[in-house]
């Protein structure tokens, strides 16, 4: 992945450098061509100007001094040539094509060919014309240029012409220097461009590296990772989309973990339930079978009072079993078989439960007080009625021997809405057992009748309704308060 990011960066830098190089090289080539053109034009212009200006003085000096004072003439030619460094050689020719003077032999060395040398037809033709003529050619040292300009005397006679040999040596040297500088600058520019390209590419790809890193972390399951890209371009958009994805993944995972946790909890509950049920159903079975076997012996031994006792125990165990099975069935129906939810007044339910338990309450001498302000909830009316029935019944069972037993039903504000409570002044529950009282078949006092299903049923009903149930008690002798909270009806 790192290698990919690097190669992307390198490729970007290379592409940038190549584009810059091509542009610069083309530019340099064009510059050099046009410079060469310009330099030649300038040279030719200045050479032509020189030719037009110098022809007169040279020819008149030739006329005046060549025969008599050669030294003076040479001085004039020398002075003129100094002013035009690109004109390297002058020849004075007549219209017959004879070469009268050649500056190549200016410094005293006589031209051996001079007396007899004649111009070739092209130059002769040029020498005869009344206009200056340019003759281009190629020599051993490159391009050559000769400007043949006529000397037209004041009265119109054309007798002599001057052949100016123009040299490109200086121009070429200058051009080469120019080309070298241009190429050097171009090369430097390309290098700079490559460097800048590399830096730009790195800057451009740095968020990509971050994205890659983040993607890898997410792939490894660390969904908490967020990308911090603020480039204001597509990369930032990508990073945002990436963060959204991570967020959604995280939410999904949290939800999944919650569901798994819930499932595990349910599973454990079910396991516990199965275990409890098998254990608690086995118990009366042991009793029944044991006393059936004993009954046989007692019948054989003709011990009628023992027979009666055995039968009573068998009857008791079978009715316990029957009750257990009925209550288990009831418990399993909660959440599975529900009446359609409706808006229920808990005040009404508490009164209804009290009325249903009227006989038992009166027998035990228990007074029930129902406080004001019990909320309305949405749920299964009959199940919620069972909640009150079981809680009030529980309070009756565990009333203390002293004082008038009172059960108080009321509500108080809680953190998640109102909390409904059923408070008694009974025996109370040691805080150690506060969790266990809601367990299936859990009984704190074996002397008190019951199967230990009532509070488990209450817990199940409340939880199926999305609520919670708990008990508050400072311990034995302090009474107990069973509390539950349910989502309030709108």
């Amino acid at each position: 992945m790192i290698a990919g990011a690097r190669s992307l960066r390198t490729r970007l830098a290379l592409a940038l450098a190549t584009i810059v190089a091509v542009v610069l090289l083309v530019n340099a080539a064009l510059l050099m061509l046009s410079a060469r053109q310009r330099l030649r034009e300038r040279l030719e212009t200045s050479a032509s100007l020189f030719a037009s200006l110098a022809t007169g003085p040279v020819c008149s000096a030739y006329d005046a001094y060549f025969e008599s004072g050669s030294f003076k003439f040479r001085q004039v030619v020398r002075d003129l040539l100094v002013t035009a460094p690109d004109v390297t050689r002058l020849e004075i020719v007549d219209v017959e094509g004879r070469v009268l003077f050649d500056s190549a032999h200016l410094e005293g060395v006589p031209d051996p060919a001079a007396p007899g040398r004649r111009l070739d037809p092209v130059r002769l033709e040029a020498a005869r014309r009344l206009e200056p003529t340019r003759i281009r050619g190629r020599g051993a040292e490159g391009d050559t240029l000769e400007i043949v300009s006529p000397w037209v005397e004041d009265w119109g006679r054309h007798r002599l012409s001057v052949v100016h040999h123009v040299s490109f040596a200086k121009l070429n040297a200058e051009y080469r220097r120019y080309a070298r500088v241009t190429l050097a600058l171009t090369a430097l520019s390309i290098l700079v461009a490559a460097g800048v390209g590399l830096v730009l590419a790195r800057r451009l790809t740095r968020p990509l590296a971050g994205l890659t890193e983040g993607a890898r972390e997410i792939a490894q399951g660390r969904f908490g990772r967020r990308l911090d890209v603020h480039t204001g371009d597509e990369l930032e958009t990508l990073a945002k989309a990436f963060n959204e994805m991570a967020e959604r993944l995280e939410a999904t995972r949290t939800e999944r973990e919650r569901l798994i946790g819930e499932l595990e909890r349910r599973n454990a509950e079910l396991e516990r339930f199965t275990y409890t049920v098998s254990h608690d159903l086995r118990s009366p079975l042991v009793t029944v079978r044991g006393f059936v076997d004993l009954l046989e012996k007692d019948v054989a031994a003709a011990a009628p009072e023992r027979v009666a006792a055995d039968l009573a125990r068998i009857r008791g165990a079978t009715s316990t079993m029957e009750k257990l099975l009925r209550e288990l069935l009831e418990l399993s129906r909660v959440g599975r078989v529900m009446n359609p939810p409706e808006r229920v007044s808990l005040d009404e339910l508490a009164r209804q439960a009290t009325a249903l338990l009227h006989g038992r309450l009166r027998a035990a001498g228990v007074r029930v007080e129902i406080g004001p302000g019990l909320p309305f909830v949405t749920g299964d009316r009959l199940r919620l009625l069972e909640v009150f029935q079981n809680l009030i019944e529980n309070a009756v069972k565990f009333r203390s021997g002293q004082g008038e037993p009172v059960v108080e039903v009321g509500s108080r504000p809680g953190p998640d809405g109102p909390v409904v409570y059923v408070r008694d002044n009974g025996v109370g529950i040691d805080p150690r057992y506060h969790d266990r009282v809601f367990g299936l078949f859990e009984r704190l006092d074996p002397r008190v009748e019951g199967t230990g299903v009532g509070l488990a049923l209450v817990k199940r009903i409340v939880e199926v309704h999305g609520g919670q149930v708990w008990v508050e008690s400072e311990g034995a002798g302090h009474g107990s308060t069973f509390c539950f909270s349910l989502p309030v009806a709108p």
Partner: protein, 154 residues
């Protein structure tokens, strides 16, 4: 055999029917034991540590054997077992789990708490009886524990 008063057994059992079965099983085979019954874990601990209503040592003779049910009201059997086995004074008392639970989990937890034996209550009375007789002969007759006095080999 000595008098059965010399061999007190603490039965921790919440079900009176099972208590009666155990009594009859011991009695019918002529293996009398002095059965002291605790109805729940808390009562068992009160008895063993001589607290509450069992402060009087007369009422709570040190048992030679503890028969312990697991599912008990309040403090359950495993908690009682843990308390007994972590008490330097009580841990020498053989503690036999006698339960209806065949759960592997309960067995493992009881063993982890150093139960001396783990027995499942049989359904048929014949087998129940046989089990109680074996129990009596092994733990109360054959098995020796500190305080019995060493018998020198002749």
């Amino acid at each position: 055999m000595g008098k059965h008063e010399d061999r007190p057994v603490l039965l921790v059992e919440d079900n009176p029917d099972h208590e009666e079965l155990i009594r009859r099983a011991f009695a019918d085979r002529g293996a009398p034991v002095a059965l002291n019954v605790a109805r729940h874990g808390e009562e068992a601990l009160d008895y063993l540590f001589r607290r509450g209503e069992y402060q009087d040592a007369e009422r709570s003779p040190r048992p030679r054997l503890i028969l312990l049910d697991l599912r008990l009201p309040r403090v359950d059997g495993l908690e009682v077992l843990a308390e007994v086995k972590s008490s330097p004074d009580l841990r020498a008392i053989p503690t036999v789990v006698l339960t209806t639970s065949e759960s592997e989990d309960d067995l493992a937890r009881a063993c982890a708490q150093h139960a001396n034996s783990y027995l499942v209550k049989p359904v048929e009375f014949e087998r129940f009886e046989a089990l109680m007789v074996s129990l009596e002969s092994y733990w109360l007759t054959l098995n020796r524990q500190p305080g019995d006095g060493g018998r020198r080999a002749d």
